[in-house]
């Protein structure tokens, strides 16, 4: 009974993915207006509509979402023997909510959809997580996100009170007083900072990643981590420009501290998934530095790492998932010398390690380079600290690779090996194609 359910779920997600380039083909890049707009009256007495549309920024995130969901369903193919129907349902509902997050053009939806996404994730971690600790991780993830967003809801209600509508386009043209801007900015910052995640509200991420199943980690790294930076880009920065300028040193400080501290923390980790999770925190905080540098290099450059980050850590989590499926441990100490027994996986792992280091030719390089250029034009100290973070990123990435793949095998711990099979390699290929494509020809994304 499970097999047809899995097939239906996979086919539904594949059809969605195959349809997702259609808006890209029909997209008119000569206009900055939202396209493919859908509007439904939702709460007519309060002038709140269910208002969705796509623009040049959200277009690629929608495609990324539809790309990752079939992969998550394929990855969890064998794990779906228990509660398979629920697994498929959770991921498909998640797909709907995540696409809606990137398409929303109404302020209240800015609260509703991002806060709805953790609900299926809570179930995914709580049901299909690997250890007893999953319960704590699921609650931590959910409560951190929810508590931060309550302040955002207050901000939205205040905007509704002032403007009489929650239409994003109208709110963007409304002038708020400087004091009100600062208050609204701080309220929305509480929500987005948790989602980025910024230090010190980042603790939920490593816990959630470690305890989630492989598919849960893939999708968590791929899409929900973009909600915070997407929120800054769509909501805080354009709507509260004076407050944004006032708070730039604060954001720069938090982000620079986050990059360096989490990079150093990453090098101390012993759990493979935690290493990748902490490196995600560093990368996303580099994106916030770019976003708060109000120049074309900073903001345009910050979009590329967001897209790249949807591919690279997801692929790294898949590599860890391949190892965990076989050996049932994520502790680095047990692994070593895998290049001799798992050459395919070692090659794939090396490719994504290079991408995680932002090597030239990979998807992260151009974006991070542009972010540093933009940040340097704005503030040389923060650019220096961010560049230091990149060096630390290269250090921990290479060290991780060396510990796991190079060196001697550890026959005391691992005695039997099986390299990646055809199904696993075929899952990695689209990620490789995406990373190389973005690295070699990134022009299409900023354009």
């Amino acid at each position: 009974r499970i097999r047809p359910i899995r097939l239906i779920g996979l086919c539904a997600s594949l059809i969605t993915f195959l349809y997702s380039p259609v808006p890209r083909i029909q997209f008119d890049s000569s206009t900055a207006k939202s396209q493919f707009v859908e509007s439904l009256r939702w709460l007519p007495y309060e002038n709140i509509n269910f208002y969705l549309g796509i623009d040049g920024i959200s277009l690629f995130f929608v495609i990324l979402t539809t790309f990752l969901i079939p992969i998550c369903i394929s990855v969890g193919w064998s794990g779906m023997r228990s509660y398979g129907k629920e697994y498929i349902t959770a991921f498909l509902i998640r797909e709907f909510l995540m696409i809606a997050v990137f398409r929303m053009l109404d302020l209240l939806l800015f609260y509703v959809f991002p806060e709805s996404v953790p609900i299926p994730m809570f179930i995914i971690i709580g049901v299909w997580g690997s250890r007893q600790r999953k319960i704590k991780a699921a609650y931590q993830f959910f409560l951190y996100t929810l508590l931060g967003s309550l302040f955002m809801l207050l901000a939205i209600l205040l905007i509704l009170f002032q403007t009489g509508t929650t239409d994003l386009q109208i709110s963007l043209t409304t002038e708020f007083s400087e004091r009100r801007q600062i208050f609204l900015w701080i309220a929305s910052f509480a929500s987005f900072a948790v989602k980025v995640p910024m230090v010190p509200v980042h603790i939920w991420l490593p816990e959630a990643h470690v305890e989630a199943p492989t598919a849960g980690s893939v999708i968590l790294a791929g899409i929900p981590l973009k909600f915070g930076t997407h929120g800054f880009l769509r909501f805080s920065i354009p709507m509260f420009p004076e407050a944004t300028l006032c708070s730039t040193p604060f954001i720069y400080t938090l982000s620079a501290i986050a990059i360096i501290y989490t990079s150093l923390t990453t090098s101390r980790q012993i759990d493979l998934k935690k290493i990748i999770a902490y490196s995600s925190v560093a990368h996303m905080n580099l994106v916030t530095i770019g976003m708060f540098s109000p120049n074309i290099q900073g903001i345009g450059g910050s979009i590329l790492p967001m897209l790249s980050h949807g591919l690279v850590p997801s692929a790294l989590f898949l590599c860890v998932g391949v190892l965990y499926d076989r050996h049932k441990t994520r502790l680095v100490r047990y692994y070593g010398g895998l290049v001799s027994t798992m050459p395919n996986l070692s090659t794939i792992f090396f490719s994504f390690t290079l991408a995680n280091m932002s090597s030239p030719g990979t998807s992260s390089f151009i974006g991070e380079f542009l972010i540093l250029v933009g940040a340097f034009q704005r503030n040389s100290l923060v650019a220096t600290l961010a560049a230091l973070g990149m060096i630390l990123g290269a250090a921990y990435s290479l060290w991780l690779y060396n510990r796991v793949v190079s060196g001697n095998l550890k026959p005391d711990f691992l005695h039997k090996f099986s390299d990646s099979n055809g199904r696993e390699v075929s899952i990695f290929i689209p990620f490789l194609v995406g990373v190389v494509r973005m690295g070699v020809h990134p022009k299409v994304f900023p354009d």
Partner: protein, 71 residues
């Protein structure tokens, strides 16, 4: 996936891994921890913040405009 490839777990490594994972359970407010949190959690961020603000103010001085106000 075929079985039989599970790790031969070492109890000392597992204990070490568990201790590293549950650092917060063994955290105590000792003088050393106070100092570390004071330096890396409070002093260093303040120094970085002041350095960033100073950089902005130096730009304002070079451009001949009054210092910008921040949070």
């Amino acid at each position: 996936m075929g079985g039989g490839m599970e790790t031969n777990k070492n109890k000392f490594i597992e204990y070490w891994g568990s201790a590293r994972e549950n650092l917060e359970h063994n955290f105590r407010w000792t003088r050393r921890n106070f100092a570390l949190i004071g330096i890396f959690g409070i002093a260093l961020p303040i120094i970085v913040y002041k350095g960033i603000v100073k950089d902005f103010h130096m730009q304002d001085e070079d451009a001949g405009r009054p210092h910008r106000k921040f949070l």
